[in-house]
């Protein structure tokens, strides 16, 4: 198992946001997290790269293993963890830098200065995120000059450049038009060969199209977790059934 969580609870001060989540995720799969707004999908996603640590008053109990290592252990280096677990956010959030420097950022902050190496890695990452052809002639231009969809693929390239093994995506296409969304979905399918992907989405069809496994969250609980096909055709829990048939959420 690539990722294993056992009885994970998370509190925002007094608010119990995740309730005893136990889940196993194997390598080179896409796992979709679905559920109504406010049910804890993003919170759970941010457990894996310890992004919740930034928020005052957060308390986490339970175990989270990545490649067999407890990531909330005191021995775990948080910067190394984040190098291994890349993240793509809901809204494209490129840095106020050039296209090239956006992709090179992760390498630079991790102490890599070899110019040739950086150039090669940037180009490869942009190829992987299917953006290379669109930006190869304007690498020095500001990242803000790209369209929203291009910016999001740039953010994916930025995450890929430091060669993580896991990529977390929090509704990566929710701010994009249908064509850009299709491109991102295609990309996820491609990336699955080399990466383990966890994607939060409120778009049922999208979950059905891109994921191998799906977890349904409701009020901080993992109600049902199974193969995507089963969740969408034959869920065991009536609340899952109600949600995917659009009766609530």
């Amino acid at each position: 198992m690539k990722i294993r969580t056992h009885q994970v609870n998370l509190y925002y001060s007094d608010f119990h946001a995740l309730k005893g989540i136990t889940m196993e995720i194997s390598a080179n799969t896409v796992t979709a997290l679905i559920g109504p707004s406010g049910c804890g999908k993003s919170t759970f996603l941010r457990v894996f790269n310890r992004m919740n640590d930034l928020i005052d008053g957060v308390k986490i109990t339970g175990d989270i293993f990545i490649d067999g290592q407890e990531i909330y252990d005191r021995k775990t280096n948080i910067d190394d963890l984040r190098k291994n677990v890349g993240m793509v956010f809901q809204k494209p959030n490129p840095f106020p830098k050039s296209i090239f420097e956006n992709v090179a950022y992760g390498l630079r902050v991790n102490g890599i200065n070899d110019k040739k190496f950086i150039e090669e890695r940037v180009e490869r990452s942009l190829h992987q995120s299917a953006l290379w052809d669109e930006v190869k002639d304007k690498m020095k231009k500001s990242a803000f000059e790209l369209s929203g969809g291009q910016q999001q693929r740039l953010c994916i390239a930025r995450a890929l450049a430091i060669e993580p093994s896991i990529i977390l995506m929090d509704e990566p296409a929710s701010a994009l038009d249908p064509i850009s969304t299709a491109k991102i979905e295609e990309l996820i399918y491609e990336l699955k060969k080399n990466y383990t992907i966890i994607i939060v989405t409120h778009n049922m069809q999208q979950a059905g199209r891109v994921s191998d496994k799906t977890g349904f969250f409701y009020l901080g609980e993992l109600i049902e977790y199974d193969d995507t096909k089963i969740i969408f055709t034959n869920p065991k829990n009536p609340r899952t059934q109600n949600y995917i048939t659009g009766r609530f959420g």
Binding site: D79, K83, M87, N93, F95, P96, V109
Partner: protein, 402 residues
């Protein structure tokens, strides 16, 4: 009836608002017009005191004497006409008070009616003479040559290296030392205040806990409320002696003392504005950086500061703006020597300090008085330029952030 009344009240209030805004606009315009009208009076006048003239022997080949040379002659720094391209002949100074050394009371006449004739013959007889005399004592058949004096031009005013408006016989109205003094002190102040202010702003926005911030913030606002004289006292009692000791100087009143005091005064502006700018960095931007394995400091240096750069620049320029216009504290600690500063460890004098110190002793409407107003115009232009720069930069900022 009621409706009519309400409309009347509305119109009335509208009128009051219109009136107050026009009065404000008019006042601002009036101040500027007044400043420039008084200030421009200094140009196209001669630096010689009104009603006085300079005269030479008619055989003297010197055609023109700049006002700086004039000062050097009367200070006896120049003692031979050779220096000015004339004949090899010692310069003999003659002021009207010296007349009793050459003539008896009898010769001058009991109602001084022969003074013009005496002066005329004196100037004729001494080849090396330079006479500084009232116009009214110049004879109809004057045997000497009245020297035409250069008018004060904008260029000379700005590039002149000597500020000595009460010099006799010719005022020295060169504002270059004052402009340079102002710029030096202000720039140094920013060099001192910017790193300190930026560090504080970053600390408050990104590092300090909410509790610490709640204590720090009012303290910094308090700093902004302290009157400038108090900063001056602080500078005089603490910073001036310290500088004197540390750099082993004859006097501690230096440009550096002024810069430090101004730097402290500019801190609240710099801290408040750059903290606001830093706070506008979107959370997602910071998280993106951290998610790529950057630590807190790398995120601050590589993402947060570049993102808030234009706000930080605006903070720095507004800080300079305050420093340029500041009078009292600077007057108290800089030593006020109107010479071009070569190092920051010499006494310097700024424009506002000059105006504050000299306006009281300058006779109204006189050359000195008008020169001080011209200084005011220069200060106005300097501060307006910084304000325009801020506006330009903050416009650019809006454009940059999509």
């Amino acid at each position: 009836m009621k409706r009519f009344f309400r409309r009347f009240i509305e119109k009335f209030i509208e009128g009051i608002f219109f009136l107050s805004s026009s009065v404000t606009t008019l006042t601002v315009l009036l101040i500027v017009v007044f400043l420039f009208r008084e200030g421009m009076g200094v140009f196209n006048k001669t630096p010689i005191e009104e009603g006085f003239a300079i005269a030479l022997n008619k055989n003297n080949s010197v055609k023109e004497i700049s006002s700086l040379d004039m000062k050097n002659i009367f200070d006896q720094n120049i003692t031979n006409w050779k220096t000015l391209g004339g004949n090899n002949d010692s310069i003999i100074l003659f002021r009207i008070d010296d007349i009793s050394n050459y003539f008896t009371d009898e010769q001058l006449g009991d109602s001084l009616q022969y003074v013009p004739k005496c002066i005329s013959s004196l100037v004729d007889s001494l080849t090396g003479i330079i006479a500084f005399i009232p116009e009214k004592y110049i004879d109809k058949h004057f045997a000497g040559r009245k020297l035409p004096m250069d008018k004060i031009s904008v260029g000379k005013f700005l590039s002149g290296k000597e500020w000595f408006p009460t010099a006799q016989p010719a005022s020295q109205l060169g504002v270059l030392p004052l402009i340079l003094g102002t710029l030096w002190v202000s720039l140094m102040a920013i060099l001192i205040a910017l790193p300190l202010g930026l560090a504080t702003a970053i600390y408050m926005a990104e590092i300090a806990s909410e509790k610490v911030r709640r204590i720090l913030k009012p303290l910094i606002e308090l700093l902004a409320g302290i009157p400038s004289v108090v900063y001056g006292f602080f500078g005089l009692i603490v910073i001036v002696p310290l500088i004197q000791k540390v750099f082993d100087l004859p006097v501690g009143e230096t440009g550096l003392a002024g810069s430090i005091v101004l730097g402290i005064m500019a801190l609240p502006t710099i801290i408040t504005i750059s903290e606001d700018a830093i706070r506008t960095t979107p959370r997602a931007m910071k998280e993106a950086s951290l998610a790529l394995g950057a630590n807190k400091w790398q995120t601050i240096a590589r993402v947060i500061i570049p993102y808030s750069m234009s706000g930080i620049t605006a903070a720095a320029i507004l800080g300079i703006g305050r420093a340029i216009g500041e009078t009292m504290a600077v007057l108290m600690v800089t030593g006020n020597a109107a010479v071009i500063p070569h190092t920051i460890l010499e006494p310097v004098r700024t424009i506002p300090a000059t105006i504050a110190a000299e306006l009281g002793e300058a006779p109204q409407g006189g050359l000195h008085y008008e020169a001080l107003f011209a200084l005011g115009c220069i200060l106005f232009i300097l501060t307006m330029a910084t304000n325009l720069l801020v506006e330009y930069i903050s416009k650019k900022r809006k454009y940059n952030k999509q």
